[in-house]
């Protein structure tokens, strides 16, 4: 009974979106230049953010799984904080850190003239900031559930640390990394608050699909609905394509 209610809670808004779609205008809305630009930018930014999360998040997950006690609690709180923080607050924090007058940003600006806000890089950074925790948590959970005897056996047979990691640990971690990466990608695709605060809004450079939908909603609701539907279709395709695998390592 409650399960049915839960299912309906998810289903009804999605059904509403599909039901209210102006099907007659879908063609022109999809063909509109702004749509393709926003979609392309969203895909590029979310993929870059996922890659950044993989490069930084897997080592971080490793570190987390190997620490204990207070240090682990502190580290875990730090890495999951972006999940709890309102995205706009995350954006403000990024601005205060990497903006022209920011903690780190001011040094970059004065020494090299580098300005990070309002760039595509800023959009990727914002998405990485909010989405990486998903990957870190998945990797840490995967590492904890690993059978460490394989690693021990490899080490006993004389493999170096790097060989153990790349030839034994990583392949065993693949399901966890994969599911973490997909969740990370999905979160970064939908990111809005941190992006618009830190990277701003400019078509082709920082206007990702969620921002385009927000702007379009007030002036051209039909176009906004079509954009939302496209994002929904892409997300469903990916999630369905994963089938059972994404639940595996969580």
């Amino acid at each position: 009974m409650l399960a049915a209610a839960g299912l309906l809670f998810f289903l009804i808004p999605l059904a509403g979106l599909v039901a209210k779609t102006p099907w007659a205008q879908v063609g022109s809305a999809v063909a509109a230049p702004g749509t393709a630009t926003a979609l392309g930018l969203s895909l590029v930014c979310s993929l870059c953010a996922t890659m950044a999360a993989l490069v930084l998040g897997i080592p971080l997950g490793l570190l987390l799984s190997r620490t204990t006690g207070t240090l682990r609690s502190v580290l875990r709180a730090l890495t999951t904080l972006p999940m709890v923080l309102p995205p706009v607050v995350g954006g403000v924090a990024l601005l205060l850190a990497f903006g022209r007058r920011g903690l780190v940003g001011s040094l970059l600006y004065q020494a090299f003239g580098i300005q990070i806000p309002f760039t595509t890089t800023a959009a990727v950074m914002a998405e990485t900031f909010v989405a990486m925790p998903f990957l870190v948590i998945a990797v840490e959970a995967g590492l904890r559930s690993l059978d460490h005897r394989y690693e021990e056996a490899a080490r006993a047979l004389g493999a170096s640390s790097w060989t153990v990691f790349s030839r034994v640990t990583l392949p065993l971690l693949r399901p966890a990394i994969f599911s973490g990466a997909v969740l990370c990608w999905a979160r970064s695709l939908g990111e809005f608050g941190a992006t618009i605060t830190f990277a701003g809004n400019f078509p082709g450079r920082t206007q990702t699909v969620p921002i385009a939908v927000y702007i379009a909603l007030e002036t051209n609701p039909d176009s906004a609905i079509v954009l939302s539907l496209i994002l929904l279709a892409v997300s469903i395709a990916v999630l369905v394509g994963m089938r059972d695998r994404w639940l595996g390592a969580l």
């Binding site: 903006g99 007058r101 806000p117 309002f118 701003g200 809004n201 400019f202 920082t206 007030e218």
Partner: protein
Amino acid sequence: MIPLLAVSMVACGTAASSAALPSPTSLTVFAAASLQPAFDTIGRQLKAQQNITTTFSYAGTQTITAQLQQGAPADVFASADTAHMTTIQHAGLIAGSPRIFAHNRLEIAVEHGNPKGIHTLVDLSRAGLVVVLADPSVPAGKYAAQALAMAHVTVHPASLEPQVTGVLSKVALGEADAGIVYVSDIVTSGKVDGVAIPDDQNVIADYPIAALGAAQNPDGAQAFINYVLSAGGQAVLKTAGLQGA
């Protein structure tokens, strides 16, 4: 016994003096973001004088218009341009006719001391300058685009903000070198300096106000509008950098 009498006498006394104010009512006003400082003050004055507690919802005019069209409940709508008010009027949502209650002009916002030496609209097209504008869907963004077109200046903005106050905050934070905002924004901000735009390049924004047909408190709505148009309300608007009706 006597303390009880004393307390009840004091209570009656205070009740008698507060009977000078009408009974308390509440009001919901949806207003353009640029009106926040002025309307917050007007809200406080209205509470003191007429016991009306006003709840304000400030956003870009285009956001409010969309919300009202979707059925958001409000008593009064104050817009930063006539186009959005007309949209609401054509949707049959207002009671009576809109009244223009204020005007606003555009001004260039720069950091304190104007470190980049911006003096005209043409300066905004300088290479390497980080300029932020409001999105064209926002009245302020629309007006800015008009002013730039009239001056034949092409600007490559770093960002198109969904609210004019977003432009102001980016300049105040030092992330943008310049932005085009309203005169009233600069007057009330105190965190940025303004560079005037000459009248022949400037755009005069007309701000209309109207009571909504579905208002829960139509009397309160009318009282609010009357106050905004009165000498007291107009004085508040002028202090906030707006020009009167």
